[in-house]
Structures are given as C-alpha cells and as structure tokens.
Symmetry: C2
Subunit: 359 residues, 2 copies
C-alpha cells in the first residue's frame, strides 16, 4: 500500500532562539549544569525562571510554600520520555503539562500547581532545552496552572535520549463525589470527547517515516475546561479517564475490571480521522489501542447522557464527541465491541504497547 | 598516599528476593512493562502495590484524591539519578524518599504524601527493581509518609542507567512564618546538624574503587523529626537548608546571595569524620563542597542558638550538631571561612560539581 501523506515539519526552529548570556558560552548542556553550582544557577536564571515566571518560583527554595483553597485535592505524577522530542502538534514540553493536568482532571480536579523535574543528557543543545521549556510555559499559561518548583539533573552522553521530564500536579476537586471507576453502573452510557488515535499515530508515523496527504497532528491538550463544563451540567458523570498509553480499549478494560461490570462499544460509532485510519491500516494497528493526549472517555448516567454529550459538543475540546457504548451486566470485567457486521468481539487488555516511547 | 579503608559491600542480595508470579516469566524489565497493558498492570500489582500498600494507592486512578489538614502546604520535587544504584548506607530508593522529604522540611513542612515516577531501562533485573521499591517503601514507612501515586516508563537498553526515580512531595507547614533564606539576619548563628560529606564521599569512594579501614556510609535520612523538634524549641529558626549537591558551601552561598548578607564560618568548628577527611585528601576534595543526604544547616537567632543546638544534640539525627559560624554585615553575598591559622578565605559558589550523579 502506498503511503499518501506528508507529516508536517516540526514547527520549532532552533535558529530563531536567541541564547541569553552567559549561556552563550555553553551552547550545549554539560555535566556541571546538574551540579548545583553556578552553572546550575545560570540554567535556572536564564532558562527556567524567565519562562515559568511566577511569585511562588521566585522564592528559589528547595520547596515552594502554597496556600490551597479549601476542599479535597488530587495529586498525580507522570514521566515523559517521548521520542522524538518534537512532533507535529506538540513536544515533550506540552505533553508534560497536558498529561499531568489531565490525570488530575480525570479525578474531577482543576489543576492548580505543577512541579517539573528534568533529566538532561550531556550534549543536549541549549536551544532545544529552551524551546521545550518555552512550550511548557506556554502550555501551563494556557491551562491556567503554575509551575512552582523543579529540579534538574544531568546524565552522561548516551543516556536520557536528550531530555526526560517528570511533572507532578496538585488540583482541587470541582465536584464531590469525585468521578471514579467504582462509580460506573449498569445502564450508564460511554461517551468519548473526540477522534481516537491522533497523538499515537502522529508520533508513530514520524518515527516510521510515513507521510500522508492529510497532515497528522497530535491532539495534546489540557482537558479540565471541558471537564468543568461536563461536571457543571450533570452530577452523574460517574467515571472519567484520558485514554493515553494503550488507548481507549485499555482505559475501558481497566474500568470494566475495577467496577466488575461489562462494557459494550458500537464499533461504527467510534470517531477516527481518515488519516489516522489510513496510518493504522499501513502499520497494522487498531485505533482503539492507540494513545491519545487530548481526549477523554466518560461514563455517564443514562438520563443525563444526551445533556452531557451536548455540552461536550458545544465545547472546543469536545466538538467531535460521540456516544460510543454502554455499561452492561453481561460479560463482567470485559470490554466488547459490536462490529459493523453485527458480530461481537472481545477487546482484551494488551500485553504491552504497539510502539513504545509514545508519551 | 595509601588508601586504608574497606567500603562495606552493598547489603542487597538479589538472590534473597523471591520473584512473585507471574513476573517469574519476566526476570528483567521489557519495553512492554511501560506500555500500559497487562505487563504494566503485573508490575504494579506485584511490585509497587504490595510494597507501598495504602488506601490512597488502592484506588488505582490516574490521580489520587487526598484530604489535607488545614494550613499552608509545601510542594517539592527532585529527580534521582545516583550511580551506582546501591551504596553503603542506602540506595536510590532511600534517597528518593529522604531527599524529597528533606526539601519539604527545609520549608518547615512535615511531609505527608509522595508521588513516585520511575524511568526504567529495558533489561533491568526485576529483583533489582523490587529491592529498590522495598527500600523506598521502608524509608517511607519510617518517615511517616505515604507514596500515593506513581508512574512507570521503560526506555530502550542503554538509556536510563538502570533506573531513574523522580519523587514529588506535599507537606503541611509546622510553623509560620516558614523558614526562608530572606529571614536571615546579621548576628544569627549558623548551626549544622552533624558531620559533613558522608554521602558524597561514600558514593565517590565506591566509584573510584577506594577502600578505607573505617567504613564510609551514606548519611541518607529524613530530617523532619529533627526539624519538628527545632521549630518547637524556638520561633527564631530563620533558615533551614539541606546541603546536598554542592555541599555546605553551596547552600550557604545561596543563602548569602538571597539574603544579601555575609556568612562567616569557623573552619575548625566544622564536624568531619576522619574517614571522610582521608577520602577527601586522597581525591583532592573539600568536604565543604561534598554532598550530604541527612544533614541540615540552620540559621538561628543568636538568643535561641544554644537552646536549639541542645535540642539538636539530644535528637538522634543531630547528635554531632555544631555551631559553625555566624551571619555578618561585612562582605555581603559572600561566604568566608576563618582558617585554623586565623586567615580568612572566600568559599565561592563552584562552577559545577566535583563528581556528578551523586544523588
């Protein structure tokens, strides 16, 4: 099969970035940038503080003191090791902000504060780091979260593949009880906020050197504004999950297993972009198992499902939202899909992942 | 100079560890353990959950919902990339718990919750991971903190050097106002909680293949019980810092710079173990710049200094505490030491670190 597509070149142009003094003397990361001495201080003063600027970070202590609003909080962390570091629609920087924000909002929390911990490879271009950090800062500003504490380590050339980032986040619950897998009930409706597999197939296509006529682009986005609208519209948003590694099928398998209920999808109802479907065909993948970084799946009480779906479709982050299945009393702990020919197939939890280093 | 010492062999014996089924089929980490599918689930169910067991973690959601006591919080993160993974007196596991607890307690906070994010190298022995995780769990239990959320990624063989760990922590302030560099005042006394350089020289000696008659051992420890006792004894504990990377000299330089005051140390007052002093001589290092992982430096109002020092010495974590200097109005922003011969030397912020990958 001929590949028909052009993956858009990565937007970041290192030549456009002007390196502030005194880092001009160090166009690349050296071991000393992780040593806690004056090189570390220069990195913080010239790269991190200007990008993340906020009063909490200014204190420059080992930890940051915060005043939280009253209420229960959500706490989460993720490591990001995506390869390559930049891809159409985003970079490791946006992923590191959006991914942790989304983990928080899947518990019904509004993300407030993030920590950012960098493991840098000796030899990483300073311009590349600056571009990643700027993209993180922009993503955080747009998501309304503050990066208030951090750390940098440097490892020898050959390790860490340029840059690994770990973020942790604190959010405040927007609704009680918090959405949780155990709250799923027989009869609930399964909604998804948009097309499946965009992030995963973008990174995979880039790595496999595939090009398509339609541009593939990561869907990386912070979903809490959408979650806020959904929770305001209904108190029957029982479960929320962002189907990242392992895709929709993995998230729904986990929900089926924790809730000890069955989930049945309608295969024809699943929204998948034609370019993603083509890429999946070429690479022999199932979009239901491909990673997303700006989509959520919701399990909602039947009586409120239409209202929640309308609210999702009215929101920029849920324009292609769809009703894709329901929670059933049969085949408990199992996810099945009714195919376009009326047959039912089991969608098992896969062993690993189709392609690693996707996020 | 002859080296006179024997670094104790690492305590962990992989053969003692019994691998639970079904991980027996995977004696080493494979890429699929980071894929979010059933291999990831096995790793979580057999390694992480049994070790970290607590009700918050049981929810197994992407984020964990917590109820915090009233009051301001501290938030911190650190990445741990120490090489080798095990050393006399500890491992990357203890460091990952103690280090982040200490960052919190240096803001006067009692650590409550940690996140733990693992970046594992394909091929890492499952037994090694299990040993690290068990040591983390033990360190957390002893420190009274709970590891409530986490993440695991796997990167290809050759990256990540076995295992990198990033922890983030949330603590609750034990005193207001929180200790902070800006609170230092002329006349304040500088106290240190014990001997300097133990952690750094242990790891360095191990890497350099040095052996000494006296066993060198990392001082890795969670310091908040000591901090709690100090804050209860005085409201004039103005600044706290744990002198990790870059050692005491780096921490005090940072305090001098942020507070725009001078700091003068008495070199003869600095507590250093003979074995550490020997190792420093052999390797050409200054113990004032060597990393500690279980020591703190405190800047305390003169009128309370003796009382705080007594409280420190009465505590198991501060038995060798000493009064080592004072905050002065001269040479603002600079750290100096009065030598044993009565001369004064400047201790500058170093460029990098004497040896990387120490924590």
């Amino acid at each position: 099969m001929r590949s028909e597509v052009a993956v858009e070149p990565v937007a970041f142009d290192p030549e456009q970035w002007t390196c502030p003094l005194p880092l001009r003397d160090y166009p690349r990361i050296v071991m000393g940038h992780g040593g806690g001495g004056s090189l570390s201080a220069e990195l913080i003063d010239n790269i991190f503080v200007p990008a993340f600027r906020n009063e909490e970070l200014e204190g420059m202590a080992d930890s940051t003191v915060l005043t939280l609003p009253a209420g229960r909080i959500a706490f989460s962390t993720d490591a990001y090791v995506v390869h390559p570091l930049f891809f159409p629609g985003g970079s490791i920087g946006e992923l590191a902000v959006h991914g942790t924000c989304n983990d928080l909002s899947m518990s019904g929390a509004k993300p407030l504060y993030l920590s950012a911990s960098f493991i840098l490879e000796e030899g990483l271009e300073m311009k590349t780091l600056a571009a990643i950090v700027e993209r993180m800062a922009k993503a955080a500003r747009e998501a309304g979260v503050r990066i208030v504490t951090g750390d940098t380590k440097v490892v020898e050339r050959g390790h860490a593949d340029g840059c690994y980032i770990t973020t942790a986040g604190i959010g405040i619950l927007m609704a009680e009880p918090a959405p949780a897998p155990m709250r799923a009930q027989v009869g609930d409706v399964v909604l998804v906020s948009g097309t499946l597999g965009d992030h995963g197939m973008t990174v995979m296509s880039l790595r496999e050197g595939l090009s398509f006529e339609t541009v593939l682009e990561s869907d990386s986005a912070a979903l809490h504004p959408l979650v806020e609208a959904m929770l305001a519209a209904s108190d029957k948003v029982h479960v929320l999950r962002d189907p990242t590694r392992g895709g929709l099928a993995t998230s729904l398998n986990e929900i089926a297993q924790s809730s000890k209920l069955g989930i049945r999808l309608e295969e024809t109802a699943l929204p998948v972009r034609p370019a993603v479907a083509s890429a999946c065909e070429i690479l022999g993948m199932d979009p239901m198992y491909v990673a997303n970084e700006g989509k959520l799946v919701a399990i909602v009480g039947r009586e409120d499902a239409d209202r929640v779906l309308q609210v999702m479709r009215a929101h920029p982050l849920g324009r292609d939202a769809a009703r894709i299945g329901e929670v059933v009393a049969e085949h408990r702990g199992t996810l099945v899909a009714r195919t376009r020919f009326g047959a039912t197939r089991i969608l098992p939890l896969q062993i690993g992942e189709q392609l690693p280093r996707i996020c």
